[in-house]
């Protein structure tokens, strides 16, 4: 028993840690993860995580076919922003082949990646607000995500299992009026974000639940190899789009927001700001979208 547990209890009382099994069949775990939690009262002392429920062996299946057959598997690694996984895989194969996608393709990839990033952050912030009881925010954000997924559907023909990336290009060019539709959708998403910002950011209940919880220090985050908004929430200004620019990120202007305390609240703020930065990137890319082919010949 840890020292803190014995010190906090009256000397005559015997205290024992309680083990609680959360998931995989639990309303908040959705059948995909199991937490075996050791509790001291209401404080979590230790957690054992079982993550294998969502492991579907894609890497083994990928051994069976030629490299182009992996693209649909890449979709299914993240069902909220599959386009980013698509392009990531295509980029890796392109580097190995020593080819580079066309300029128009690179811009399209940036636009679609950033739209996906916004849908991803909307889901994350919306769902975490929902778990705290702010169901309104969840519905608002899912509504905004729907507008963006409609754009994704117009481009790729699917909402989730897009398989839009191709080695050396993309499946299809942007549809007509895409730029105008996207600008309209981003305008609507901005309004939703303002509403959600008003509902959450200075909300006493939300702040109490988010500030000072789930703290990960800068050093811990680096040692655990954490990347993305999670790392930036801990105050490390590292963004692979700046550090090792790919596509045309080095030619577009965007800021890298960072947190200070590494708690849930800072990660929330970082995600909210990143959505704005992603919209900036999409708008710039739409302005400068060049003509030309979307696939290379080789």
């Amino acid at each position: 028993m840890p020292e803190s547990a014995t010190l906090s209890a009256p000397s005559a009382t015997e205290t024992r840690h309680m083990f609680l099994n959360i998931g995989p069949s639990h309303p908040a775990m959705h059948g995909i993860v199991q937490l075996i939690v050791e509790l001291d009262g209401e404080r979590v002392v230790k957690t054992d995580v079982e993550i294998g429920y969502l492991h579907r062996g894609f890497e083994k299946m990928s051994e069976l076919g030629p490299y182009n057959n992996v693209i649909p598997y890449a979709d299914r690694l993240n069902y909220v922003s599959p386009l980013i996984n698509n392009f990531g895989y295509c980029l890796a194969v392109e580097r190995l082949l020593g080819i580079e996608a066309t300029e128009r393709c690179q811009f399209i990839r940036v636009i679609m990646s950033e739209l996906s990033r916004i849908t991803d952050h909307l889901t994350c912030v919306g769902a975490s607000a929902m778990e705290l009881g702010a169901f309104t925010v969840f519905l608002y954000m899912i509504k905004a995500r729907e507008w963006l997924w409609e754009l994704v559907e117009a481009v790729t023909g699917a909402r989730l299992t897009v398989s839009y990336g191709r080695v050396g290009g993309v499946k299809a060019d942007l549809p007509g009026h895409f730029a105008a539709r996207t600008r309209k959708a981003l305008e609507d998403v901005r309004k939703v974000l303002l509403e959600c910002d008003a509902l959450l950011t200075r909300n006493r209940i939300f702040m109490d639940r988010m500030q000072g919880t789930g703290i990960i220090s800068k050093e811990q985050a680096i040692s655990y190899g954490i990347t993305g908004p999670f790392l930036r929430g801990s105050g490390v200004a590292l963004d692979v789009r700046k550090a090792n620019p790919y596509f045309v990120y080095d030619r577009l202007a965007f800021d890298v927001p960072t947190g200070e305390h590494g708690d849930n609240y800072d990660r929330y703020l970082v995600r909210m700001e990143e959505m704005e930065q992603s919209m900036r990137l999409v708008e710039q890319a739409l302005d400068r979208l060049p003509g030309g082919p979307i696939n290379i010949d080789f």
């Binding site: 083994k60 069976l64 020593g98």
Partner: protein, 201 residues
């Protein structure tokens, strides 16, 4: 793509110069630097990679394993009836004579454990490979240096059966307890079925 070649080349050479007794081979491909290392030197080299300001690798971005059991032979999901071959279909030699050379023999060293390091301060990357034999696929754990090694090594043990000595908790990560074998080894059939064992607790 090749803008990192300048400093990274000296990085690779520097590691070779500091540890000539441990480094088997180094090469660069598409601007990415790779160092092949004997397993005896892994922990010593890793400590230097983390603490030496020239390297300053604060991130262990990825740790994985490669099984070279069938490397260089065509792997196909089904045999081709059109071109009968005296060898089994999965042993047909790859036609490309200019295929990449690994640096050690596949027969003696079946596995490569692959480490990807990244330095956030110097913004450079390095790939470290440690060849292991099929008879004794074991090497030192890096959990004392990078926390991310904990789950990565559990994953490599789970899926490839590589043993990391010194790991505090080397259990399966993705497959369940009671699963037989290591599914990402090339001799594990992709369609093999196993009974699902209920949770232990």
């Amino acid at each position: 793509m090749d803008q990192t070649r300048g400093p990274a080349t000296s990085l690779r050479a520097r590691l070779h110069a500091s540890f000539p007794q441990h480094v088997l081979e180094t090469h660069a491909y598409r601007g990415q630097e790779t160092v092949l290392l004997k397993r005896e030197g892994l922990l010593e080299v890793a400590r230097v990679l983390k603490s030496d300001p020239v390297f300053a690798f604060d991130f262990l971005m990825d740790l994985t394993c490669v099984d070279y059991l069938t490397f260089g032979r065509v792997l196909s999901s089904r045999p081709s009836l059109a071109t009968p071959s005296p060898l089994p279909y999965y042993m047909t030699p790859k036609p490309d004579p200019e295929r990449w050379q690994r640096g050690v023999s596949d027969a003696a060293y079946r596995f490569d454990v692959v480490y990807h390091f990244f330095s956030s301060s110097r913004v450079h990357r390095l790939r470290l490979k440690v060849p292991l034999s099929a008879a004794d696929p074991a090497l030192d754990s890096l959990t004392e240096l990078w926390k991310s090694a904990d789950w990565f090594e559990r994953e490599a043990w789970d899926l490839f059966g590589v043993v990391f000595t010194g790991h505090p908790n080397l259990r399966r990560l993705l497959m369940y307890e009671g699963f037989q074998g290591h599914p990402l080894r090339k001799d594990y059939p992709f369609n093999k079925r196993q009974p699902l064992v209920g949770p232990v607790n």
